[in-house]
Symmetry: C2
Subunit: 411 residues, 2 copies
């Protein structure tokens, strides 16, 4: 694609993503086997099937006495039923056997009396003060899951209870989707590395921490390639290096239409298909470019941190999710009333930063700023985004909007 | 506190937590300094103050030409204004100087013309085709933050944009709250360790993975103490070991009122004040106990995994948040309509597991099960909880409820 001087045409956000996905055809990455101890937050690469019934046998769910339920009928505090204690074998008529949580139910027993619903008498028998129905206080064989059923579906992001389930089924290793590796390249003559004192015409490279953090949060593994000067050869070499080491390349800086904005040019020269989209009808993030090199996605994000974050959210996060094979994992959203009118930008999707809070039972969203894509404070003062659609001149005071939360509710 | 045989009195959930907090007085733990590279997800232990203005000087926000804004007034495509290019010094009347993103604004310049709004002419001058106002395309000194202002507030869970902000301010290390260490003890004669084939009267210890995962998700560091047999001495020794190594102790199993339910007895014998609450008016999780030993909290949770999860959510998570000094970090919630009537349990708070999903623009919550606290499948088939209050006999079909989500929306 030829470079668009001054972005004569901006691509709509949805169209940009669908064009990009049509060309990239992002597929789930391969899998690796990890121990359950390491599996939290990974994504199951296949259905995890129960190798056996769970529980494998009928088990007592409580500490108490295994009985035949019919022997307890009409038992009460005032009319206790007496049962003879036995210690092994099948539970016969009028008999009871001490049982602990998790123990297999003895033969012929059909229910369990909880310990506190029985009184032990001296002569080797008990008094039952409540009736139980068949199956009461029993975990039935296969009640949690039956052999061959799916315990955890392929594509599930593994949470604590999934791991517990898998372990309870006797499974110790899980095939999980390999974490996408994301190579990060920062470009710009003005940048210096973190920890070095910048001169007045220099800027500390802070974007790498932002993008690396976003990658980690979305389940990818960032790999930092360093800072490239605004030089075609240097940028090109680093990108090729990144493509060899990683599944995704993200660059920040050098995406506008200034003379130093070399990354899209370099990508177009490297190999096909190169840059698919350059210039998106969004604010911030307008100079975002999306490319494909050697079948791998490359996201060319703004050097302005807030624009880079929005570019990541709009394009890189959904791509990482495809590579992980997770279905839609949106940020949490809430509905809130806008505290004041804000202007949009007809034809562009505006990502308005807002501070959402609760007041007297109402949820309110206070606009922080629509401009200032270079200002971190527009993010740190906010806890969510509101999207102003392309076809709206603005949003009204008191209008109910959807807030995409990235932080806890404000006070 | 004396042990309550059969839980003659159950404590209300809210009362249990407030009684416990009144006695424990949980305070934020001490801090440690970590590199920004390691700080994601940690909690800032103090306000992070800007050591300087950011930007430290007026800077160009774009690639273009520094100008005096008045020299561009009424410039347009049809009536361009010609300015003479200079290469150093102050920008005089009728002059312009090439400038890159991030460069300090030259003396006497008041705005920047974007590159694409100017045409370079051969004879060392440019034609400007748009007017700029004073300050346009300039990042003002201190515009993002002023020296001495708070960039990140104490108690903030550090997200990617916070790290970027801190780095942009030249800060490389952050004082963060030390992660609470949580010692986990599993109790029960029936338990065998993960990876070992259980006999029919044995159960694999899966709870440790569940509780360890919940600890990690809430920002704590789990430390596994192993399995203790149902033996007072053994349980006591392990708990003392846990108190020495960790800030919090969590046990699972042995909290009901059966003869093998030793943990609350052991805790009461160890030292004061011991068990503060034993038996909570909740389902599942009724046998939960809360104790304090050597000033540290101990959570005695059910051996049934779902009951253990609910006990953790109700009591351990809020305590860990206090130790981290983070304000309320609730799980995301949504409002949904219940697809069918469910029974509650008057006097008890019921944590109903539901599957929340969207259908034709409506959000619906389908009850999975209110019982079965030992069944993992009641968690894995659900993605959220609905709380049935103590004073409700049940919830009605079609009633709008609040779902506390722990997983993505179902299909």
């Amino acid at each position: 694609m030829a470079r668009l001087k001054g972005f004569e045409r901006l691509t709509n956000v949805d169209e940009a993503l669908s064009t990009f996905f049509k060309a990239l055809k992002p597929k789930r990455l391969g899998f690796e086997s990890v121990s359950v101890e390491e599996a939290l937050g990974h994504v199951a690469a296949e259905d995890i099937v129960a190798p056996d019934d769970l529980p494998p046998v009928d088990r007592s769910a409580v500490d108490g006495y295994a009985v035949r339920s019919e022997d307890t009928s009409e038992a009460s505090q005032f009319k206790p039923k007496k049962l003879r204690l036995i210690h092994r074998g099948a539970v016969g008529r009028g008999q009871a056997m001490r049982i602990w949580t998790g123990n297999p139910l003895p033969r012929s027993a059909t229910a369990v009396i909880m310990l506190e619903h029985a009184r032990q008498l001296k002569e080797g028998s008990i008094e039952v003060i409540t009736a139980v129905t068949p199956g009461e206080n029993v975990s039935r064989k296969g009640e949690d899951i039956k052999k061959g059923e799916v315990a955890v579906q392929s594509g599930t992001r593994l949470q604590p209870h999934h791991l517990g389930f898998v372990v309870a089924l006797g499974i110790t290793n899980i095939n999980v989707v390999r974490k996408p590796k994301v190579a990060l390249l920062s470009t710009g003559n003005e940048l210096v590395e973190f920890g070095r004192k910048p001169k007045t015409d220099q800027v500390v490279n802070s974007n790498r921490f932002v993008i690396a953090g976003l990658c980690r949060e979305s389940g990818a593994e960032p790999l930092y390639l360093g800072i490239a000067k605004d030089n075609e050869d240097e940028i090109g070499k680093r990108i090729i290096d990144g493509l060899e080491k990683a599944d995704v390349v993200i660059t920040t800086g050098g995406t506008s239409v200034g003379a130093a904005d070399l990354v899209p040019i370099v990508v177009s020269k490297l190999s096909g298909p190169g840059v698919m989209v350059h210039g998106v009808a969004m604010r911030p993030g307008m100079p975002t470019a999306l490319g494909i090199l050697k079948g791998k996605p490359i996201f060319i994000l703004s050097g302005n941190p807030v624009a880079a974050i929005i570019g990541f959210e709009a394009f890189a996060r959904p791509t990482i999710q495809k590579l992980l094979g997770v279905e839609d994992e949106p940020r949490p959203v809430m509905r809130a009333k806008l505290t004041k009118r804000v202007a949009g930008a007809l034809g562009r999707r505006v990502y308005l930063r807002v501070k959402a809070f609760e007041k007297a039972g109402d949820f309110l969203a206070e606009p922080v700023r629509t401009r200032g894509s270079g200002l971190y404070s527009t993010m740190t003062k906010a806890n969510g985004f509101v999207i102003i659609p392309e076809d709206r001149e603005g949003l009204d005071e008191g209008e109910t909007v959807t807030v995409h939360l990235f932080g806890p509710l404000a006070k």
